[in-house]
Symmetry: C2
Subunit: 684 residues, 2 copies
């Protein structure tokens, strides 16, 4: 077997071509272009490049729109179903609860209750803390942990997502609204703006989902997010210095320089009792976090630690009457469930611009976190989350939240991780959490009177420290230096300038990288892997690929468009010059351009080949394997049939070289014959 | 020959694999990865994918920077030359005049004098007209046709470019500066701002060249430029209604709606004498233009027509004393050469922002026109123009111009075409033109006293009508619908909003298209072309390619990055689902991803394969031909050796299918053997 099939695999490789005698594929009937013709000539099969099956402009547009907005083909499951089934599927699509609700079992309920109560124990102290971070009354944080989880349980498709207020969205909303309204001087207006921003966030989120523009959040790359999160964590932690040090007069600025200078200017206000208590509980919480990270089974240690700290510290303060010794406490909290707040939304006045801007930014940030968390756990448990559907769910949750005294909420990473570890099976765990919060709101609020502020600061710091992902940053440094620059810019931008601008800078740099790649696409020179029909990068496979004498094979590795046509022209001419220089006298007869990777071309790009042909008039320019769109456009532009001539266009590099080598040989022997005749004629 | 070699070309194609018995490439020693190992097994040769030769981060960065900023390798010619020769080459590089000057001959001089005088006859009336368009004194237009051509003749590398004021840059400068300063109320300040803007334009242009950022002008695509030019031509023509209708009180706005409404509001000011004269000369000029377009040999008809019209109309006005009958004339013009204007540049004050903005926009627009014109004629005459070098030349020309009473100048398309047709051989024709303009400035200025304004309007309209390129627009419509939308947006934006915003909109849409392509890259399903090792798009080659049973071969046609990772994940899973659905029970054993077109990948993109592997756990995921950068990154990320396992990574689709088919068959026969044994054992 060995030898025989070894010979076979070497088939039409150029190194063996000398033994074959095919003739060149002459420019035959052009009307046949639409049929794929294999023209065997003396054993050499040459496959024609044909235009793709005809589609009208409208069909192309529809296909393009479908790929752009419905890449996941959401209506796929409805196809070919009876109408009744379609209704049921439709209802299940809008309300995922109808999917898992009917088959819900007692066994699942037990898991969901355990995980629900666990996340509630985390959600209550975090809710109060994050509301403080957004400069809102503590009770709003609990309101926001009551209604939104109920809405999400009905609409959301993730089984693990634990929704409620989150640190970064709280921070951004608080800091942005503070630019125009003081939360201490005019708390009511501030609250109104917060609810209105939340309403706009919901509108933005739901619209992105409905309009299938979910890909917008993809522009926040992993590197951007890691840098941004780390920066935000630093900013959030710095804000906690207020409660951790017991400072009364704290700066309203966010960036690291003004905050630190303000902290050290107000050294006289530092309270040693507060600091002592803060350090102790911070250590406790960090140790608990560490334990849970080491042994995921002990997830309840870090999940329960915040509530335990709250209870313990409250008891200490109450017992020692520490609130009279420099330790600030939360104070009186209202009892009762969420009051309606639709009458607090304001859609006019001087602050409307700020409110819309805040809504858009917090909405997109919250969405990014929620979707990313949902996807992470969906991949872990092997189900799929529909991004656009989730956006609608989160959006509606915030719209409903905004009229029931809730501020911006989304899926929280830390609580979702606890939810997952505690064994949550369905979105019912959110309902359980919600009920637990309700009980707290109804009956337990007075107990928080003596809870010291310092403990809330410690809880926030512990929560956000998890956002600083050093190993991921190292990983990015290892894999892609440019991505690391994006990460660093996001981080430095957030801590030194502002949260929004840091994010904008990072997104700008990420997009700039894409544009740079488009402007300077890769071109590589290919060589043959001996014994095969395979052509690969000569530089990459420098030990196995060899260049084919007389041919320069260049592969263009990107779509050709207005931004890179000039570059490609210059670059390809340089490849040719370099090749000619190295060999003193030009020995390249044909320049073959492998178009396999040119996925599209525009009106500027299509001029490239004509310009190249003019520039290298003495050599042949051969195109190989242009893709469907490119073939169509070449055909339209190629009136004098220069580019699409059958001996200028091949389906594979191997066939091009085989066919052109034969033509060259025939030509040479013809010339030789002619010469012989010319020499002979005088004699005759 | 026929039969035998026909068999050969069919070599290792999968359709014939049943006859072969290779064994699978077992995961052998990983340290050998750096050597290319061909492992022949039972006749089936499998080539390994190897990482590219090692390069340090610094080397990669340097290579990347070189590709980004020096794609044309400008220092190439200096390599390996003796120092003296390097000095000469360097001087010639900076001053191209040293290249052609020493070998200049009398024969060339004759051609250059003819063409120089011809373009001067066009440049003088156009100079006066365009200065009016920019709301500047007519004489500045002539100044600008004197100094800049001299500078360009020394520094410029194009042989055909005729430099001087151009319509669009004049229009933009005039309209932008008019936003803050009135040219009628404060003409001196307006002139100062114009010179200062020109200075900044020069700085911007020269900097773009020096910093090798010339690719910025590539972002003005052909479609954008055609739409923009046509829109600008309409706007410029509308402005000429002032002189063509003899209106005194004309609006300062530019957009079509206010201009037209202003024109019809001031109907009482229309002067029939002016209109009659305007219509006659406009017809004359248009006919002359038409004649020259039909017969390029008669280029002198359209080249001479403006000057002839000026002379004729001046004589008529002088003879009939028409200036007392409602026909406006230019009036007194200063005599003498350019006065220095460096003392008129103002770098402080309230207008500095506007001046810089105007400088940047007019600078880039002027540069785009100059470079495009230079490249067009260079291609026609088969020499090359170095874009970055040209930018420095044009920039210096404007800097020197700004201190010698010139406003923004660049290469003019219409005059360069005349220059080319008149047989210009070198940049000396610019010097000849300059001398002719000098003579005019010194001695002939009084003759323009009675030149009617209406003739200047007619000259401008005739010049800019050539900018409306309807055939090119039709061509773009035929080739690329999206590009046509860009064109239309540029056109409508310019005529209805403003010149700058129209341009910004068009550039924005062009860039958005690129980003959309990046966000939604093409994925195609490949099939085998029977009898070859070639795999092509099944949809495109629907008559010749056939799918390989048991395999789904998907080719990703773009770089993978943060903006498209989610999409690619969804799209590939959909391909798999569709394939499985169509065949009722899943018959795909392996999903092969052809990475030949994935030119780069980032940290977000690299997660795609892990996620895909998790999602399709029951099938094998095989990567084929990842390129150098991708192999390197896969290696770094692939700690558990899942993606880089030799049986998950192949150099070509053909080898992957051959090798995996064998493995499947072996497995099947093993299972069959086992089954036989199991069935047999109870009996024994």
């Amino acid at each position: 077997m060995g030898e025989a099939s070894h010979d076979k695999t070497e088939g039409s490789s150029p190194s063996k071509l000398n033994n074959q005698h095919p003739t060149i594929n002459t420019p035959s009937n052009n009307n046949n272009m639409h049929h794929c013709m294999d023209i065997p000539m003396g054993g050499l099969e040459v496959h024609k490049v044909v235009p793709p099956p005809h589609r009208s402009t409208l069909q192309k547009l529809m296909a393009r729109l479908k790929e752009t907005f419905f890449p996941d083909d959401p209506l796929h499951q409805f196809k070919g179903q009876p109408p009744k089934k379609q209704w049921i599927l439709g209802a299940q699509y809008v309300f995922p609860i109808l999917e898992w609700g009917p088959t819900y079992s007692f066994k699942l309920l037990k898991s969901d209750i355990i995980s629900g109560v666990t996340i509630a124990s985390l959600a209550i102290p975090q809710g109060i803390s994050y509301a403080k971070l957004a400069n809102l009354p503590a009770i709003v944080g609990l309101y926001s942990s009551f209604v939104p989880p109920l809405v999400y349980a009905v609409l959301g498709s993730s089984k693990d997502l634990a929704v409620g207020p989150v640190s970064i969205a709280s921070l951004i909303m608080g800091s942005m609204l503070m630019q125009e309204v003081s939360p201490t001087k005019d708390p009511n207006l501030f609250l109104q703006l917060a609810f209105t921003s939340t309403f706009f966030s919901g509108i933005v989120q739901a619209s992105l989902g409905l309009l299938r523009l979910g890909f917008i959040i993809d522009f926040l790359s992993k590197a951007t997010l890691i840098g941004f999160m780390a920066g935000a964590a630093v900013i959030v932690s710095l804000q906690q210095l207020k409660s951790l040090l017991g400072i009364q007069h704290f700066t309203k600025k966010m960036a690291i320089v003004p905050v630190l200078s303000s902290v050290f200017e107000e050294r006289r206000e530092w309270s040693w009792q507060t600091i002592l208590m803060g350090v102790c509980f911070l250590l406790l919480l960090l140790i608990a976090r560490h334990v849970s990270m080491r042994k995921p089974k002990l997830f309840w240690v870090s999940a329960g630690a915040p509530l335990a700290s709250v209870i313990l510290s409250t008891v200490i303060v109450f017992a020692c009457k520490a609130n009279h010794h420099g330790i600030g406490v939360i104070g009186d909290l209202q009892k009762g469930l969420n009051p309606p707040s639709w009458n607090m939304l304001i859609f006019s006045g001087t602050h409307i611009g700020l409110v819309i801007k805040t809504g858009i930014i917090t909405g997109i940030i919250a969405l990014t976190e929620g979707i990313a968390v949902g996807r992470t756990f969906a991949t872990l448990r092997e189900y799929r989350v529909d991004g656009n559907k989730e956006m609608i769910a989160i959006g509606l949750m915030n719209i409903i939240g905004s009229i029931t005294s809730c501020y911006i909420t989304t899926g929280s990473f830390s609580r979702s991780a606890v939810n997952h570890n505690a064994g949550a099976k369905t979105a019912l765990s959110n309902i359980v959490m919600s009920v637990t919060v309700m009980v707290t709101l109804l009956f337990l609020m007075p107990l928080f009177h003596y809870t010291p502020n310092v403990i809330l600061g410690a809880i926030i710091v512990t929560a956000v420290i998890g956002l600083i992902d050093v190993p991921a940053a190292c990983h990015i440094w290892k894999i892609d230096k440019y991505d690391f620059i994006v990460l660093v810019c996001a981080f430095l931008g957030v801590i030194f300038i502002s949260v929004q601008q840091g994010l904008a800078i990072a997104v700008g740099i990420s997009v700039f990288k894409i544009l740079l790649q488009v402007t300077r696409p890769r071109t590589v020179v290919l060589g043959n892997i001996p014994g095969t029909d395979v052509f690969r990068d000569l530089h990459h496979y420098n030990e196995s690929a060899v260049s084919v004498p007389g041919f320069l094979i260049i592969s263009i590795e990107a779509a050709i468009n207005f931004a890179n046509t000039t570059y490609l022209n210059e670059r390809i001419l340089r490849w040719i010059e370099e090749e000619d220089d190295g060999n003193k006298h030009p020995n390249i007869r044909f320049v073959i351009i492998d178009m396999s990777a040119v996925s599209s071309i525009d009106t500027t790009g299509i001029t490239l080949f004509g310009d190249l042909r003019k520039a290298i008039r003495k050599k042949g320019l051969v195109l190989v394997n242009p893709l469907a769109e490119v073939v169509e456009k070449l055909q339209k532009v190629d009136k004098d049939n220069e580019l699409m001539r059958p001996d200028h266009l091949y389906l594979s590099v191997g066939e091009a070289i085989a066919s052109l080598s034969m033509a060259m040989k025939n030509q040479a022997s013809n010339m030789y014959d002619e010469e012989m005749q010319t020499n002979a004629s005088p004699k005759s």
